[in-house]
Symmetry: C2
Subunit: 341 residues, 2 copies
DNA sequence: TAGTTTGTTGAAAACGTTTTCGAATTCATT
DNA sequence: AATGAATTCGAAAACGTTTTCAACAAACTA
C-alpha cells in the first residue's frame, strides 16, 4: 500500500526527516513556524505515523492484552467493555483474546501477546491455574490476574477480584434474614478458587446459625445454563424440604429457572432463588433474579489503574491483592418465609 | 525488559544473526544441523521473536481489526467470537474495538487500526454511515462491512450480511401460515439499511396477501430492551386487535415480553411473538422465542474468507456483496390462530 | 569586535527483524 | 589435481521511526 512515511513529508516540506519527527511528537527544539507548516502538510497528505516503527524504538506499544474465557459470557463481555473503555481514556488499547478456558490455547495467546510486545497482560479467569504457569506469565511482563489465585501464588502475582468470601457471606445472611433455614448451594465448582471462597463465606454464616447447606456440585469446567439445568432436574424430580437456593452464578441460576419451569416449581413461591454475578441475564423480563453484584466497573477500573502503576514502576517486586466488595441487588426471585413454615 | 534478540542467540550459537533468522523462519539455505542447534538454543533461552520488527519489514502484521458497536450485545459478542476463532485458525489475530455506535469514536478507531498497520478491517454495524466515511475507509485498506450499506456505496465497498429482505419475507410468511392477519411490526429503525430491507421483505409478503402491518417505529439509535418495552407499553395499555407481533431484534422482543408481563398479556396465548437474531437471549428458559436466525457462523466464515481473498489480491477493484440466507428457528412464542378468529 | 549563549536544524545511529548479494566452503566431476 | 556447481554462511541494506550529537546561525554580552 502506498503508505506515506516521514521521509515523504520531509521531502515536500524541504526539511530533514528528523525535523518532521519533532513536529509530530511535539518535542521541543523546533520553531513553531516550521511545526505548523509540517503539521499542515501531514494533514493534507493524510499521513499516519507507523505505530510499529514507533513502538520498536520506544519499546512501548500502548497496547494491553486482555484474556477472557469467552466474550459470549455476559460477565466477561461486560467486564471487557468496561476495561476497554477505561483503558482507552488513558491512552491504551486492548487486544482481546478468548482462551475458551483451554490451557494450551491460553499459552499460545500469552506467547502471541508477548511477541507483540504488549505493555501488560490482564488475565480474567475463574479457573485454577498451576503455580508454574502463573509464575511464568507473571515473571516476564506486568501481569494481573482478575480473579483469585491459589494461595501459593500470592507472593508472585498481582490479583484483583471481588471479595468472594464476603459475597458468600452476603448471600447467606440475606437468605437467613428472610427466614430460610434449609438451603441448597447449587453449582459449586471445585476447580475455581473464587468458588471455594464463596462457599467458605457462605458456610461461615450458616455455621454460625448452626446450619448447613446442601451442596450440589458442578463437576464440569465452566458455569453454563445447561449444567445448572442438569443439577436442578435431579433434585426437582423428587420432593425436597429446602425453601431457598443459592446459585453460584447467573448462568447456573438460569438453568435452575428452566428446570423449575419444567417441574412446575414456582419461584419464589415454592423456592427462593438467589444468584451471583448480576449480568444482564438477571435483569431480563420474566427472570428478574435477586443477585450478588460483582461490581464489574469497579473491578475494571481497579485493574487498569493497577496496570498503569505496574507499567510505570516496572521494578517493583511488591505484589498486591485487591478485593472489591460485592453488593446485593434485590429483584423478585426471593421471598420472606412466613413464620408457619 | 530483558527481551532476547536474534543477536543474543547468534552470539551464543557462534553464528551470524542472519543465520538465526533463517533457522527461525524455516527459510532454505541453511543446513539442518545448524538449524536444529539454533532452534534448541532459542527454546532453552526462551527467545520470542519481536513481531513489531518482523511486521515492519514484512509489511504484514497478521492482525485484523474488528469494529463492533458493543461486545455486550449478544449478537456481536457471538459474531466476534466466531470471527476470532476462525481467523486464528487461519493464522490471523483480531484487534477488537467497540465503536459504541459513535461516528467520532469509529473514526478514531479506524485511524488507530491503520496506524497499527492491520492487514484489514472488518466493520460490523447496522448503522447507516455516510458514503464519504465508508469510501474513506474502504480506499485505504482491505475493508469489509458486515451489514448493509446504502445503495450508492455498492460500487466502492465489500459487504456481507444476512439477506434481510429474505429474512423479512420468512418472518411474514410464517406468521401468515399460522393464520395471523393483523400484525404488529415492532422496532423498525429508519436509520438502519438492514432494518429497511427487513421491513421491505416483510411488506412484500403482506401486500401479496392484501395486508398491511402496523408499524411501531423505534426512533432511537440502537435496539435495546428498554426501547422495546417503551414501544409495547404504549400499545398494550389500550385494547388492540392484532394477534401477532414481529420484533425487529431479540432485544426488542425481550422488551415486548417485559411489557406483556406487566399488562398480563399472555404470549403466545393472546399475542404471538416472532423475533429476529437468534441470540442466546431467545433460547433462555421462560423466554423461548421463535426467531429468525442470522447464521452468525456462516456470516463470520464468509467475512474472514473474503478478507483472506482481499489480502491476497490487493489490486482487485471488484466489490462483492454476499448475502447469507437466514433460517427460521421455532420455539414457543407463536401459536396457530384457531379458525374461529 | 570577539566571544558566548541560545535556538533551530541535519546527519547518523539505533530499535529487531528479513533478505539480497557475494564469499567461502564442500563435493562431485573430469 | 583442477574445475565447476552446490551448499552454507556472513555483511550490509532495508523497514519507519526516535533521539543524540554536532553544526550552524542569530542574538546577546562584554
Amino acid at each position: 500500500m502506498g503508505n506515506l512515511t516521514i521521509k515523504d513529508i520531509a521531502k515536500v516540506a524541504g526539511v530533514s526527516y528528523s525535523t518532521v519527527s519533532r513536529a509530530l511528537s511535539g518535542a521541543p527544539g523546533i520553531s513553531s513556524a516550521t511545526r505548523e507548516r509540517i503539521l499542515k502538510i501531514c494533514d493534507e497528505k493524510g499521513y499516519r505515523a507507523n505505530a510499529l516503527a514507533r513502538s520498536l524504538i520506544n519499546k512501548k506499544t500502548n497496547v494491553l492484552g486482555l484474556i477472557v474465557p469467552e466474550v459470549t459470557n455476559p460477565f466477561y463481555s461486560e467486564l471487557s467493555l468496561e476495561i476497554e473503555t477505561y483503558a482507552r481514556e488513558l491512552g491504551y488499547n486492548i487486544m482481546l483474546c478468548n482462551s475458551l478456558n483451554d490451557h494450551e490455547r491460553t499459552d499460545e495467546l500469552f506467547n502471541f501477546l508477548l511477541s507483540h510486545r504488549v505493555d501488560g497482560i490482564l488475565h480474567a479467569s475463574s479457573r485454577i491455574y498451576s503455580a508454574d504457569m502463573l509464575k511464568n506469565y507473571s515473571s516476564s511482563i506486568p501481569f494481573i490476574l482478575i480473579g483469585t489465585a491459589p494461595a501459593e501464588c500470592n507472593s508472585i502475582l498481582n490479583t484483583i477480584s471481588t471479595d468472594n468470601y464476603e459475597g458468600g457471606r452476603i448471600a447467606a445472611k440475606y437468605l437467613l434474614s428472610l427466614g430460610h433455614r434449609d438451603i441448597f448451594y447449587m453449582g459449586y465448582r471445585k476447580g475455581s478458587t473464587s468458588h471455594q471462597l464463596r462457599l467458605l463465606g457462605f458456610n461461615s454464616v450458616m455455621e454460625n446459625a448452626g446450619l448447613k447447606p446442601v451442596i450440589l456440585e458442578n463437576p464440569s469446567n465452566g458455569s453454563s445454563i445447561s449444567r445448572g439445568y442438569d443439577l436442578c432436574r435431579k433434585i426437582f424430580s423428587k420432593p425436597f424440604r429446602q425453601t431457598a437456593m443459592f446459585a453460584a452464578t447467573d448462568s447456573m441460576a438460569l438453568g435452575a429457572l428452566q428446570a423449575a419451569e419444567e417441574y412446575h416449581i414456582s419461584i419464589p413461591g415454592d423456592l427462593s432463588l438467589l444468584s451471583y454475578d448480576n449480568t444482564i441475564f438477571s435483569s431480563l423480563p420474566g427472570i428478574s433474579l435477586s443477585t450478588v453484584d460483582q461490581r464489574k466497573q469497579a473491578l475494571a477500573h481497579a485493574a487498569v489503574d493497577l496496570m498503569m502503576h505496574l507499567i510505570e514502576h516496572p521494578y517493583n517486586d511488591q505484589h498486591t491483592h485487591q478485593l472489591i466488595s460485592p453488593s446485593l441487588v434485590l429483584r423478585n426471585s426471593c421471598r420472606e418465609l412466613t413464620s408457619g413454615t
